[in-house]
């Protein structure tokens, strides 16, 4: 092993039990938790200090939100099935499940865009009230994270999947990392949906 090569990019280090990218993504997710946590605590502060605050369901569509929740939870399943497929050396299955993940995410975004459109049609903008402001900011930032995830997943479905030929173990790890990020994005939505739509 040349001294210029960085160790533990694929194999795990004994005392931490991790390979580098896995620790890296968990650290990144910790910072993301602080980011969304700050927005959630802003939501709480704004709501507690407000003279009147609408019930989310009076403005937002609960059925659409529930549908989006179902889509994201399913996409979490499909992305982990795609990783399991790679561990069983089944590249075709990986492509299938990753493809489904991407499509589910795109449908999620489509529904979100439709919801935003409906709000704008009823002249409900971020500037209309602090509820709308925090709704658009929270879901908007979340949607940006979904888009980021779609870009990464699409890269791994497409051009990035060439690494399966040259370094299958490293590629499998990359899909694990992508999955961890994707589960986190789903997790944020599992809090966003009840807080914004149902409370």
């Amino acid at each position: 092993m040349s001294t210029a090569e960085i160790p533990f990019t694929v194999e795990s280090r004994k005392d931490t039990g991790l390979y580098n990218a896995k620790l890296g993504i968990w650290l990144f997710l910790a910072s993301e938790m602080m980011l969304f946590g700050a927005l959630f605590s802003s939501y709480i502060l704004l709501r507690v200090g407000a003279t009147n605050w609408p019930r989310g369901s009076s403005i937002l569509s609960v059925p659409l939100g529930a549908l989006n929740t179902t889509l994201l939870i399913t996409s979490s399943l499909t992305i982990i099935l795609s990783w399991a497929a790679l561990r069983m050396k089944d590249f075709k299955k990986y492509k299938l499940y990753m493809g489904v993940t991407i499509i589910l995410a795109l449908v999620f975004l489509g529904i979100k865009a439709y919801e935003y459109g409906m709000k704008f049609e009823h002249h409900l903008y971020p500037s209309t009230s602090t509820f709308m402001a925090i709704y658009f900011t929270l879901t908007g930032l979340h949607a940006l994270h979904i888009i980021g995830g779609i870009v990464v997943n699409a890269y791994f479905w497409g051009p990035g999947s060439r690494m399966w030929q040259t370094d299958p173990e490293r590629f499998t790890n990359r899909i694990e990392i992508a999955g961890l990020y994707w589960h986190f994005v789903d997790l944020v939505w599992l809090f966003l949906f009840p807080v914004l739509y149902l409370l």
């Binding site: 609960v62 179902t70 939870i73 099935l81 599992l190 009840p194």
Partner: protein
């Protein structure tokens, strides 16, 4: 990951599908509770409780925190608990302000609204 038995992975997949079903069911329960139209306090409690359970399942099994070395798991759990206690405690302390005779003027602990408008030019 080193070579693992296909059967082990097939078992894991069965586990994933179970967790997926649990997450889905819990989400439907959340929506169901919403339709019960409970008072806000209860609604918040149940919504956050179910979300927390979903988070535990997703993080534990989908993100396989359960199988990582315990140190990572405990560190994350401990920090989360501390953060939550903090996030709930601080606004409550501020709102109830147990040290008396300060920003609240009357015994009924109503905010001193007239004083807030006093300095508007």
């Amino acid at each position: 990951m080193s070579a693992t038995n296909i059967d082990t992975i097939k078992n894991e997949i069965r586990g994933y599908i179970t967790i997926f079903s649990a997450l889905l069911i819990l989400s439907f329960v959340t929506v169901g509770i919403f339709y019960l139209q409970l008072p806000l306090g209860f609604a918040i409690f149940f919504a956050l409780l179910i979300s927390a359970i979903q988070a535990f399942l997703a993080a534990g099994y989908f993100m396989h925190l359960i199988s990582e070395k315990m140190l990572l798991l405990y560190a994350i759990l401990a920090l989360t608990v501390v953060f939550i206690i903090f996030a709930i405690a601080l606004p409550s302390i501020e709102h109830h302000n147990p040290i008396t005779g300060t920003i609240y003027q009357n015994e009924h602990h109503q905010p001193n609204i007239s004083a807030e408008h006093h300095n508007v030019p």
